[in-house]
């Protein structure tokens, strides 16, 4: 057979030839498109800044999380306390900085739980279809019937308050949306010809799911997760606002707004500052999600 004879030159041709050729993988393209989107860059910068603030909070914040400047309660913004102090004399700016830890952690951890459950349920329902799909879809529908906030409240009631329970409560509730998206995407991808080709050359179900189906869902997962993080942050803030989430003295933007409500007359701005921090964070993640969707999956772009 003529093919074997040419073995060595084929190999050498391969190395010097293939190396030189520039290739753009899918994610290179996506990054290039993302860089062109100025808003996305700003949001990326804001999100990065938030993460740094959250990690290095103890060094950045002017005061300890629960340091009380006794006798200086509800002070207006001054040089010592840039945003003034709360009813216990604690520095509002420092508590907002520490509060960013809670919000970002909830965004990441809760969303990770939601993505994990959603991906598993969605992939199985989508791939196997038939009865499995019917049962899982009903389960998705059941969990989606509870308003997000209420279900989280009940979960908190059962688990008790505390930061870890907040993550679980929001994560356990938020997976239905992603499950539905993944399920419909897997159903579409299942019919693609490259999946049939894999099956025709002997690919097993698991190999097909992990080599073909999940990689092609990745961009959807990233987009949906990035869009869900802001709502997770809002749910945490709401829970804390209702006094069911993070308990004092730990700082959370939601609980700060709730505390501030009692002192509207003396110091109205007290409740405005944590609100602004919350809005900036949620806005940054939201716009980043939009930009990622446009960069990763041009077809999803709503022109």
């Amino acid at each position: 057979m003529g093919l074997l004879k040419r073995k060595n030159d084929v190999y050498s041709a391969l190395i010097e030839g293939a190396e030189g050729v520039a290739y753009t993988s899918f994610y290179h393209d996506a990054m290039r498109r993302l860089k062109k989107d100025k808003i996305a860059m700003v949001c990326l910068f804001v999100v990065a800044a938030l993460i740094i603030i959250a990690i290095f909070a103890p060094f950045i914040a002017p005061y300890e999380e629960d340091y009380m400047d006794v006798g200086n309660e509800l002070a207006r913004p001054s040089s010592e306390h840039l945003l003034g102090t709360d009813e216990f004399g604690r520095d509002i700016l420092s508590r907002i900085i520490f509060g960013s830890r809670v919000s970002l952690m909830v965004g990441v951890v809760a969303e990770a739980i939601a993505v994990f459950i959603g991906l598993v349920v969605g992939a199985i329902a989508g791939y196997y279809g038939g009865k499995v799909d019917a049962v899982l879809s009903r389960i998705i529908e059941i969990f989606a019937s509870f308003p997000h906030i209420l279900f989280a409240i009940v979960v908190m009631f059962v688990l008790g308050t505390g930061i870890m329970n907040v993550f679980i409560a929001i994560g356990v509730v938020g997976w239905t949306g992603l499950a539905r998206v993944i399920r419909s995407q897997i159903m579409q991808l299942k019919q693609k010809e490259y999946v049939e080709a894999a099956r025709a050359s002997g690919g097993r179900n698991m190999q097909i799911i992990f080599r073909h189906l999940i990689p092609n869902c990745l961009s959807t997962i990233i987009v949906v997760a990035t869009m869900n993080i802001p709502s997770d942050i809002m749910y945490e803030a709401s829970l804390s606002f209702l006094g069911l989430g993070v308990q004092p003295p730990q700082a959370s933007w939601g609980s700060m707004i709730s505390e501030a409500r009692k002192f509207i007359r003396q110091y109205p701005e007290y409740s405005v500052f944590p609100g602004i921090a919350l809005i900036v964070t949620v806005l940054a993640f939201n716009l980043l999600g939009d930009a990622l969707r446009d960069a990763l999956d041009p077809r999803l772009k709503n022109l």
Partner: protein, 309 residues
């Protein structure tokens, strides 16, 4: 069409059963000793056992569940331990209040949402579109409880224009409606814009243009009728979010609706009331979703008129 309806009815029954099962398990089985949690150790073991017996919690779970279902079907969720009144009575009153607020919030968000959404799609590519996108994104990120407080401070306290609590007079509806409705108006605007743009890029719009149909009619007839279908399905989700969101707004404006009842029940640890409230809200959503799905079938001929054999 009938087949579609029957199938949906069957699915809804299963979901309702699932909802009651999940709620029952979470509140009665998960926390181990519900009465202990309820009395929060304020009573000695002897009273706890007596209360447990009174509420029938010492029976095996399956029996409790059957009793619970039989009651729920008839609308009887047992009695609230602290208010000594049937839960269903409390919920009915609270629901009327939340519903009345909910209707206004829905109207506000749908009207505003469609207005912004359609105009954004029509002004696509121009400044107007960009401004509306910005406003709607901002609207989506405003936490409802935060806006509620800001409105309370500015309009209520500073300028004393509007009442800042309760739902006695018509004007007292304005602040809660705006603070809860803003988020949903923004999401409807975005959804409507995306669907309109999608519809306006379909081949049949190009055909309509080739017929000489005016842009206005293309948007209003061809575009809207196709874009309306996904928007109507969103209204189902809207009802659920309003039921959820009302918890916050009712707390800020101290409106004794379902949301506030739920929060108070949680803080008082009134298990029966919490259970009744959760089921009640979920049922309202499921029923609303069902009606919308059937409406959806009527509007979309592809479902109403099945393919001939």
């Amino acid at each position: 069409m009938i087949k579609y309806t029957v199938k949906r009815l069957l699915q809804t029954l299963i979901v309702l059963f699932g909802v009651s099962l999940v709620t029952f398990v979470m509140l009665n089985i998960a926390p181990g000793d519900p009465v202990g949690v309820m009395l929060a150790k304020r009573a000695d073991q002897e009273t706890i056992d007596r209360v447990r017996h009174e509420m029938g919690l010492d029976k095996p779970y399956t029996e409790q569940f059957i009793e619970f279902i039989r009651g729920a079907v008839v609308g009887d969720f047992g009695d609230s331990y602290f208010q000594h009144k049937p839960v269903s009575e409390i919920l009915a009153g609270a629901f009327r209040i939340t519903a009345s607020l909910g209707v206004w919030v829905m109207l506000f968000s749908i009207v505003l949402g469609l207005l912004f959404g359609i105009s954004a799609a029509v002004l696509h590519g121009r400044i107007g579109d960009k401004i509306i996108i910005l406003i709607s994104t901002l609207g989506m990120v405003m936490p409802s409880f935060w806006i509620a407080i800001i409105l309370q401070i500015v309009l209520g306290v500073k300028f004393k224009l509007l009442p800042i609590s309760g739902l006695q007079s018509m004007s007292s509806y304005i602040l809660p409606t705006i603070s809860l409705g803003l988020i949903y108006a923004a999401s409807i605007a975005r959804l409507c814009r995306t669907n309109m743009l999608d519809a306006l890029n379909q081949d049949y719009v190009r055909t309509a243009r080739a017929k000489g149909v005016s842009e206005f009619k293309i948007v209003m007839q061809h575009g809207l009728k196709n874009a309306a279908i996904p928007i109507i399905t969103y209204i189902g989700i809207l009802i659920k979010s309003i039921l959820g969101g009302s918890v916050l707004v009712e707390t800020v404006f101290s409106i004794p609706g379902l949301g506030k009842t739920m929060v108070d029940a949680i803080t008082q640890r009134d298990i029966r009331l919490i259970q009744g409230c959760t089921i009640y809200i979920a049922v309202v959503f499921v029923v609303a979703n069902l009606t919308i799905d059937l409406l959806y079938g009527l509007l979309d001929p592809r479902i109403r008129v099945t393919q001939e054999g």
